[in-house]
């Protein structure tokens, strides 16, 4: 999806959010979903009624009650503003998605084998099972599966990736998404989703938060917050009888003010914003989660299953070293290896040329192989002018398991150890003693040995070995270290033999590996991990990954993958980057941390509010309670007002934190806990003392009380 990085307070979003904050406030159906804020709303209404009564009677301290009422309303509105802000960011994204939802006509095929049977219909009339034809320039009218044709498709609207991708019938690249555009050739597509149920529609619904349901953790937290609210209701409601006993009385607006200050409004007001913002952050990473539940589960993951190829290693093996046998110089070996690889278009072959160039400055040479001529750079190696004569490329075949070139009498071969050895012996050569050791060492280290030999003047001899290696992605080991610090185990999945797998696993720093893995093995591994109480996350793209994706607690399907994989997973990565799983886990953790930190902050805040409000309430009855006014607040009215204002403003102040999430660095739980306790626990204890004091001074300065 074309995600633009928006500033936190984007003016249009803010404007819309302000409007919505008011709309939400007057909607009881919306408010009742959040018990804490609902209590604040009731308190605001009650205070306003009392204000009206006092105004009519001309009794009571109207100015004070008016200010209390106003700030109570602000508390509700601020909380709704936070939620509207979080939704607004999603809505803005939804709007840009909606804009690309096609209103174009689709070419529906009466007969999917006959391209000429197309008739134009509006995309909205397409149903699951219809066949459509898409030609260059067409926008694909709905999600579907390619049944015929190969085409390059521009998916930038969905993925933000500008390079076109190939979509073709059969195999793992057959799924197309509505809203993307065909650039070349043609596709015949079987539509797999009815209008309103397409991927795009679901994405819009998700980012808008329209179908947002509370996640399990959010429900548990809501129960805790509601429970605390009831406890404070007891504490405040029983205060009036105790006051009467003590020979005093507390006015209802003041009791409401105390209640609102005590109940966890900070976290109560920001809770849904935090949840929406978490989903939003995921979308910023180009990952679409099908439910909030899966985002939470990502934070809980204990085991990550990662495919070796593409995730841990670069896609292909690369030459990293030349190992000559006794009597051959390194340069000689490099020269021959390069010669044998020049016409070799495979990534391995190219990597040999690159290595030779990097290490020995050997440049490309003009070489004719009968099919085409490679134009070499000028100023080639001294003496290589001769080499530029007729050369014949010997391609790799399953039978010979070698490739190479023939240039006149000079024949060079590279290939699997035993195959090259046989070729050398057939050509009257002998196998040098050191070769076997080199080959075995490379295999043991997880590499692939390629033996290079040449035949000149009728006899063949071995030159040495090229070390082809699975190249582990840069920085991946550090990432795994970070993941391990979070207490997550990584398991590498590979089709390699156990020896190779073990070597790569230790180089990449994964905790465990599954070698020679079949889809069944993968499934069994997931079930075994889950039976041990662990939550498993994995990525996958192929149809044979689908069962495992469905079984895993967090299954991230690649957008480039098959429809089956996408439906089985509970998240889709639009960038099709398997490493993204790590970010997904981090976002899940950050979401939970933000909730916990603000809950702690909210509860810790109450201590200061007690010291502000309790002496203010009872100082008339018991002047001795002045002793509790440790902040030295000016008057009972200013103290109560300052607490209510602080309580409301802190919601606004924390909106950026709720939207961005608390700072997250991978570390063991104990370290994270210590840090967050200092910041949000101790900070939450101290901050309101300072905040209430400052507001009190301002109130005095402005003569508000």
């Amino acid at each position: 999806m074309a995600v633009t990085k928006r500033p936190l307070f984007d003016p249009p979003i803010v404007k819309r959010a302000i409007g919505e904050a008011f709309a939400k406030t007057v909607s009881p159906r919306h408010m009742v979903r959040n018990p804490v804020m609902f209590v604040v709303l009731l308190g605001s209404v009650l205070t306003t009624l009392i204000l009206a009564r006092d105004a009519v009677r001309g009794a009571g301290s109207i100015g004070f009650t008016l200010q209390i009422a106003l700030w109570l309303w602000f508390t509700v509105i601020f909380a709704n503003f936070a939620e509207a802000m979080a939704e607004g960011r999603g809505k803005a994204q939804a709007d840009s998605l909606r804009a690309m939802r096609t209103t174009t006509a689709a070419k529906r095929l009466e007969d999917h084998t006959n391209k000429l049977s197309a008739e134009p219909v509006p995309a909205t009339r397409l149903r699951r099972g219809d066949y459509v034809l898409c030609t260059p320039g067409d926008i694909i009218p709905g999600d579907g599966e390619v049944v015929d044709g190969v085409a390059s498709v521009d998916e930038s609207a969905i993925t933000g990736e500008s390079a076109p991708v190939i979509r073709e019938s059969g195999g793992d690249r057959s799924a197309v998404t509505g809203g993307t555009r065909v650039l070349s050739d043609y596709l015949i597509i079987r539509i797999t989703a009815n209008p309103g149920e397409t991927f795009l529609d679901r994405m819009i619904a998700l980012v808008e938060g329209a179908q947002r349901q509370k996640t399990p953790n959010e429900i548990a937290l809501t129960i805790l917050l509601s429970g605390l609210t009831v406890i404070f209701l007891f504490a405040v409601a029983t205060l009036e009888p105790f006051a009467i006993y003590s020979g005093g009385s507390v006015s209802i607006p003041v009791l409401i003010a105390l209640l609102v200050c005590l109940i966890p409004t900070t976290i109560g007001g920001l809770l849904s914003a935090i949840g929406i913002a978490g989903m939003d952050r995921l979308i910023q990473q180009n990952v679409i989660a099908m439910s909030g539940r899966s985002v939470e589960a990502a934070g809980d993951v204990n085991t990550l299953l990662l495919d070796k190829t593409g995730t841990i290693t670069l896609g292909n093996r690369q030459a990293v070293e030349f190992i000559p046998v006794a009597g051959v110089t390194l340069e000689q070996l490099a020269d021959r290896a390069q010669l044998a690889s020049l016409p070799d278009e495979t990534p391995e072959g190219r990597s040999i040329v690159v290595l030779a160039k990097e290490k020995f400055g050997l440049r490309g040479r003009a070489l004719a192989d009968g099919r085409r001529v490679l134009v070499a750079a000028t100023g080639a190696h001294e003496g290589d002018a001769d080499a530029a004569h007729e050369a014949e490329f010997v391609p790799f075949s399953a039978a010979t398991r070698m490739s190479g070139v023939n240039m006149g009498t000079l024949h060079v071969r590279k290939g699997a150890g035993d195959a090259v050895a046989r070729w050398v012996e057939e050509n009257h050569g002998s196998i040098p003693a050191g070769l076997k050791a080199s080959v075995e060492r490379i295999a043991r280290d997880g590499g692939t040995p390629l033996v290079v030999a040449e035949r000149s003047n009728g006899t063949a001899h071995v030159l040495g070995v090229i070390y082809l290696k699975d190249v582990v992605k840069g920085g991946i080991k550090e990432r795994f270290d970070r993941i391990r610090a979070m207490g997550i185990r990584t398991i590498m999945i590979t089709g390699d033999n156990p020896l190779t797998a073990a070597a790569i696993a230790s180089e990449a720093g994964v905790d465990d590996f599954l070698a020679e893995a079949t889809p069944e093995d993968k499934m069994a591994l997931i079930k075994r991990e889950q039976a041990g109480g662990r939550l498993v996350a994995m990525t996958g793209d192929g149809t044979n990954d689908a069962p495992a994706l469905a079984q895993a607690d967090v299954g991230v399907a690649m957008n480039s993958g098959t429809q089956a994989a996408k439906e089985a997973g509970n998240m889709i990565d639009l960038d099709s980057n398997p490493t993204k799983l790590i970010e997904v886990v981090e976002i899940g953790k950050q979401l939970l941390m933000t909730r916990g930190s603000l809950t702690t902050f909210s509860i810790a805040n109450d201590v200061a509010k007690y010291f502000a409000i309790i002496p203010a309430m009872f100082v008339a009855t018991y002047p001795a309670l002045r002793g509790l006014n440790i902040m030295g607040l000016h008057s009972p009215e200013s103290a109560i007002l300052a607490s209510v204002i602080f309580n409301a403003l802190v919601i606004i102040a924390l909106i950026p934190l709720a939207l961005k999430g608390v700072r997250y660095r991978p570390a063991p739980a104990a370290a994270i806990l210590r840090r967050n306790l200092w910041v949000y626990g101790v900070g939450g204890l101290i901050a309101p003392f300072a905040g209430i004091k400052v507001i009190d001074m301002l109130i005095v300065l402005l003569r508000l009380a």
Binding site: T238, L677, G681
Partner: protein, 571 residues
């Protein structure tokens, strides 16, 4: 405060520490069934009672068994108290206990509260004392331990639906743990001078030449279990201040250790059962630090005494000849330190035995017992009750703070989710609601106000104390409140039942929910429950939940009384 005072506190603390591990290990074997030296007696009881000892109970069945047993034994006690005048072992010919008082007493003893609105020596026959009150002293304590075991099993069992067998836990707890310990302790007490007889009351002539009736009775047997089972119901009205209940400094020390030994030992038992001994010690540490804070606060307040006394020329300084501080309402035998220590220990646990009058403490000294009870009796707490109360607080702690490490909170591998939070909150809510609502009711109704002996903030402290003590199943009285009225008998009796059963059922339900869960293996990402940081956090949550709930009410009671005392006013 004196070095001697601190030394005594130190000796007491060391004894509690030393007894924790051996008793904890013994209790592991009691409740895992591996101890069999009383197997014949055990089998006999099961056969007579028709219990299938091998049945493993689902939480609902466990809870129903517990409720049925409690209801039946409460009814029996009510009947015996009402009929004691026609039953044997009543040498004084005491009449039937009035209905409201019989209800309150039956409820109070069934719930391990032992709130007494009567004077034992003039109300209860020997039969009532021995067969009913002492009986409850044993089984209510055993019930508490059984419930704690059920919760622990819920936490340590893996994907199970069951919590053990209530009847087996009850029988084994009584048979292997409470009876032997009580027997040994009763013998030690009699050696020290605690009486044990069923004689007529003795009329003696005092040195002043006044005739005085000395109440007699089987005291030692009840005294032992009164402390070991954190019951606290005194044989005599003066409770542990009475020389026949608590004759020597040694008995005073041993009685305090007896009060704490099972609650302290259970932390070790828990650590062992959860295969996380460090966690057991972390709980012990949190409990002990809170206890020590209470002891220090109370001791400091009492040793400083009342400034008004000093202003009038009373010597409040401590010296070899003068205990100093606030000696009002204290036994000269025990002095300031042992009174403050005993008051803290008996209210931190749900014991409620007293060796001084808490009503006569300074406002802050008297607030310590109130706060101890209002924290929910988790500072070692009652037998069993302390542990499960603490575990509920741990679950809340883990939930609030656990989210901060970025995982669904989990406790010893069990995920804490909506249902568990719901039950834990219900547990806390019932407790807070019962104390606050009933206290408020007493504070503004004529029936409530006639019961209190002091006006002003001190009267409010008396009310808060009474309802905190009953809801927390402590049973100690501030004194100063005339509890034997219809109003107080009924409400306080009811409050003991709410404070026990309305909190037990959610707690057992939570145990049941936890039992069904899988255990997530521990990793570096797991919330740590063994570190000093955890101990601090746990104490913080306990204090803040308690403080936030009760601070407003307390500020109109002991807090303002303290400020007023500083200003020269007393009530």
């Amino acid at each position: 405060m004196t070095a001697n005072g601190w030394l005594q506190i130190g000796i007491f603390s060391t004894l509690v520490l030393l007894v924790t591990k051996p008793l904890g290990l013994y209790m592991v074997r009691v409740f895992d069934g591996s101890l069999t030296w009383l197997a014949p007696a055990e089998r006999f009881i099961y056969r007579v009672a028709g219990v299938a000892p091998r049945e493993d109970q689902h939480w609902t069945r466990y809870a129903v068994s517990m409720l049925a047993f409690s209801a039946a034994s409460m009814l029996l006690t009510y009947a015996v108290l009402r009929l004691q005048h026609v039953l044997p072992l009543n040498p004084r010919g005491l009449g039937a206990v009035p209905d409201r008082q019989a209800f309150e007493t039956a409820a109070s003893f069934t719930t391990n509260t032992n709130w007494q609105s009567y004077a034992g020596e003039t109300t209860m026959s020997y039969l009532s004392q021995m067969t009913q009150l002492t009986f409850h002293n044993f089984v209510s304590a055993a019930t508490g331990i059984a419930l704690a075991m059920a919760l622990v099993r819920g936490i340590v069992r893996r994907s199970a639906g069951t919590l053990g067998n209530f009847w087996v836990d009850l029988v084994r707890g009584t048979l292997y743990l409470l009876l032997p310990l009580s027997m040994v302790f009763a013998l030690v007490l009699t050696q020290q001078g605690v009486i044990q007889n069923v004689s007529q009351y003795v009329t003696a002539t005092t040195v002043e030449g006044v005739k005085q009736v000395l109440a007699m009775g089987p005291v030692a047997s009840q005294e032992a279990i009164k402390n070991l089972g954190t019951n606290g119901g005194g044989f005599f009205n003066a409770n542990a201040a009475h020389p026949f209940e608590n004759p020597t400094p040694l008995t005073n020390l041993l009685e305090m250790v007896a009060i704490l030994c099972i609650p302290a030992g259970l932390t070790y038992t828990y650590g062992r059962m959860a295969r996380n001994q460090r966690h057991g010690w972390a709980i012990w540490a949190a409990m002990y630090i809170l206890l020590f804070a209470g002891i220090t606060t109370s001791y400091r307040a009492e040793a400083r005494g009342n400034p008004i006394h000093a202003a009038q020329g009373v010597d409040v300084a401590t010296s070899a000849a003068n205990p100093g501080g606030n000696m009002e309402g204290k036994e000269v035998r025990f002095g300031v330190v042992n009174s403050a220590l005993f008051a803290t220990v008996t209210t931190a646990t749900s014991c409620g035995a007293v060796n001084s009058l808490h009503d006569s403490f300074t406002p802050i000294g008297g607030m310590v017992p109130i706060v101890n009870m209002q924290l929910g009796e988790v500072v070692f707490g009652g037998t069993g009750a302390g542990l499960y109360g603490m575990i509920v607080m741990i679950i809340l702690t883990v939930f609030i703070a656990g989210l901060m490490v970025g995982r669904t909170p989990e406790y010893l591998g069990k995920k804490i989710e909506a249902r568990e939070v719901q039950m834990a909150m219900l547990y806390v809510l019932v407790f807070a609601g019962a104390i606050l609502v009933l206290s408020a009711l007493a504070a503004v109704t004529p029936a409530g106000l006639t019961g209190i002996n002091n006006r002003g903030p001190h009267g409010l402290s008396e009310i808060l104390y009474a309802f905190s003590s009953t809801a927390a199943n402590n049973g100690s009285a501030f004194a100063g409140l005339t509890g034997s009225t219809y109003f107080y008998n009924t409400l306080l009796g009811l409050n003991t039942l709410i404070g026990r059963f309305a909190m037990h059922v959610p707690m057992v339900a939570m145990a049941g929910f936890l039992a069904e869960k899988r255990i997530v293996p521990e990793s570096a990402g797991t919330f740590p429950v063994t570190t000093p940081l955890f101990v601090v956090l746990l104490m913080f949550v306990i204090l803040i939940v308690g403080a936030l709930t009760f601070f407003p009410a307390l500020s109109l009671g002991p807090v303002v009384e303290h400020f007023l005392m500083q200003a020269g006013r007393v009530f």
